[in-house]
Symmetry: C2
Subunit: 344 residues, 2 copies
């Protein structure tokens, strides 16, 4: 069969030989360098197609110090928000001729550190990161930045003044919108299940919550504000705690949709009418929230817009980098919106 047929890759030299030209000219023709004759260019392109030539990215990258590859570190690919964002990023980057290496930290800090190292070794042209919820020190990205590789954070971003670009949803406003919505639809005793405050996400969402409560002069009961890992089980436990007391909340702002779904489940199981006895609002507009009965109110984060912004900023930085222009490192904030549904 194809046992004896040596698997050969055609190189630039094969084209050069076939056309009696130098490899330099072939390279220039393929990269359509201005100083190459139109006819030569056509000849080369034709011969390249004929030989089934494809540029060897490793050789090209080694010499030119560009990989045309962007790295992405994300907690989990299958989380709805991140899946949407990275779908957009991949499609957008493709338009500019960039590949995307996608890695998952599984929300584990040591994995994130390892991946930063690996992607550095792979000499990605840029790196996009949504941190783990525990990342508070960002020095594992230093070597990238020091080498002039743009690093862009999104969603879960550095809290301190780490000198990188970041793009995030308006979590403060999201928290504020959710809470004022609950208040304006008549709630007075509002509970809040949020994540650990090590992440900017929950700091901001909770701050928005507090701001709204304060503005409407409603008390925030300490026992009604939870900061925990936002899993289904934890949410159920928090609900059990909330509803074991005689004074019970009449609304819940859940800092993610999984928690909101679990809360609704708890309510159904325990004869708590939603929204009559308890209003619920979640965060992220996961597709499940629109399909559950009653449909859950939530906050839309526009993952597609986030993805597009990331890529446009990234392309800009890559262009500037070539011109050795100093990078502006301001944060970009993507607006959020309230989605009203039956649960509130």
């Amino acid at each position: 069969m194809s046992k004896d047929k040596k698997p050969q890759q055609n190189t630039i030299l094969d084209i050069a030989d076939a056309l009696k030209l130098s490899p330099a000219t072939i390279s220039r023709a393929l990269n359509n360098h201005p100083h190459v004759k139109e006819k030569t260019k056509n000849d080369v392109l034709k011969m390249a197609a004929q030989l089934g030539y494809r540029r060897n990215q490793m050789a090209s990258g080694l010499r030119s110090n560009k990989t045309h590859t962007v790295g992405l570190i994300v907690p989990r690919i299958s989380m709805f928000f991140h899946a949407e964002v990275l779908t957009t990023i991949q499609n957008e980057l493709h338009k500019y001729g960039y590949n995307l290496i996608i890695c998952q930290s599984n929300d584990v800090l040591s994995m994130e550190e390892e991946l930063a190292d690996i992607l550095y070794a792979s000499r990605v042209d840029a790196l996009i990161v949504a941190c783990t919820l525990q990342t508070t020190d960002f020095s594992h990205f230093d070597k990238l930045l020091n080498t002039g590789i743009p690093v862009i954070f999104y969603d879960r971003v550095p809290l301190n003044s780490y000198p990188a670009t970041y793009i995030k949803g308006d979590d403060f406003r999201g928290g504020y919108l959710a809470t004022t919505h609950l208040i304006e639809t008549g709630s007075q005793r509002i509970a809040h299940i949020s994540g650990k405050l090590s992440s900017n996400l929950y700091q901001d969402r909770t701050a928005g919550f507090r701001k709204a409560m304060e503005q409407y002069q409603l008390p925030v009961k300490a026992e009604w504000v939870f900061h925990q890992e936002l899993t289904h089980e934890n949410a159920k436990e928090a609900m059990a705690e909330l509803f074991s007391e005689t004074v019970q909340p009449d609304a819940l702002f859940a800092a993610n949709d999984v928690t909101a779904i679990a809360a609704l489940e708890y309510a159904k199981e325990n004869g708590i009418q939603v929204p009559q006895d308890l209003k619920i609002i979640g965060y992220s507009n996961d597709p499940r929230t629109s399909i559950i009965t009653p449909a859950l109110s939530t906050i839309e984060q526009y993952p597609t817009k986030v993805g597009q912004k990331i890529v446009s900023v990234l392309i800009e930085q890559l262009k500037n980098r070539m011109q050795e222009v100093g990078l502006e490192q301001k944060p970009y904030v993507i607006p959020v919106d309230l989605i009203r549904r039956m649960s509130s």
Copy 2:
């Protein structure tokens, strides 16, 4: 600031200079080649850490003809089944030191062809593909296979005898299980909304449906079997058609969950009781099916198992390739299971 500090990458030569050794020895030490003294190895590792050295993958790959990178072409990252599969693939490959370049065809054939070219140019060590629903010719993968690069298809796989490995769910059995379940719970007039027959997925699911109907000697009405793009809108239209007649179905086997969800929505909007008037079963066990009311019966495809199988087969092939052993190209079929819920 760091304006004047030249962004330097340390190379193997810097380590060699620092230790008065040759680059060859450094390379061997870093790849822990057997013929290098324990002490030297330690010295090198220590110095490498001290200098913050990281192997340049492009140089390494160019010379050794290995990229330690696997390419993946998938219709859309955000489809639940694929998101789960590729989450698993990425996590598994990471254990073996492989990176993953993920690309989306957006279910467009020309894009798939382009991506095959790009990933070939990137000299990926292997390629994993879930084809578009229209792919019936697979010659754009020839150049990969001819160069000895393993290509593994999953889920949407070649129908003809294309000489590659493939891994798929047992779609025939899935269709059969779904249909017999509907029959055994008392349905007689069963409709079936399926996808275009250009894809193995729907050929097999529909074949399973027909087999079950035949076995129970139930008639298959031609007007009750749809082959169309499985979108929400198309599903609603098909439902409208089905329920515009005087004789109406008492059960529906939808070949994906989006269609099942849309059908349930239609039923709710039109006062059709599920499961009393109409039983519904979907396909894939999308998270939404368990959360909707009534919860939808469906077929579990075990995406995690699919992902694990892909990687284990892949690693095996990469190992064999080094030993120049001929690749066995049998198909692997992952079992499916029926998930019974309230809709049937």
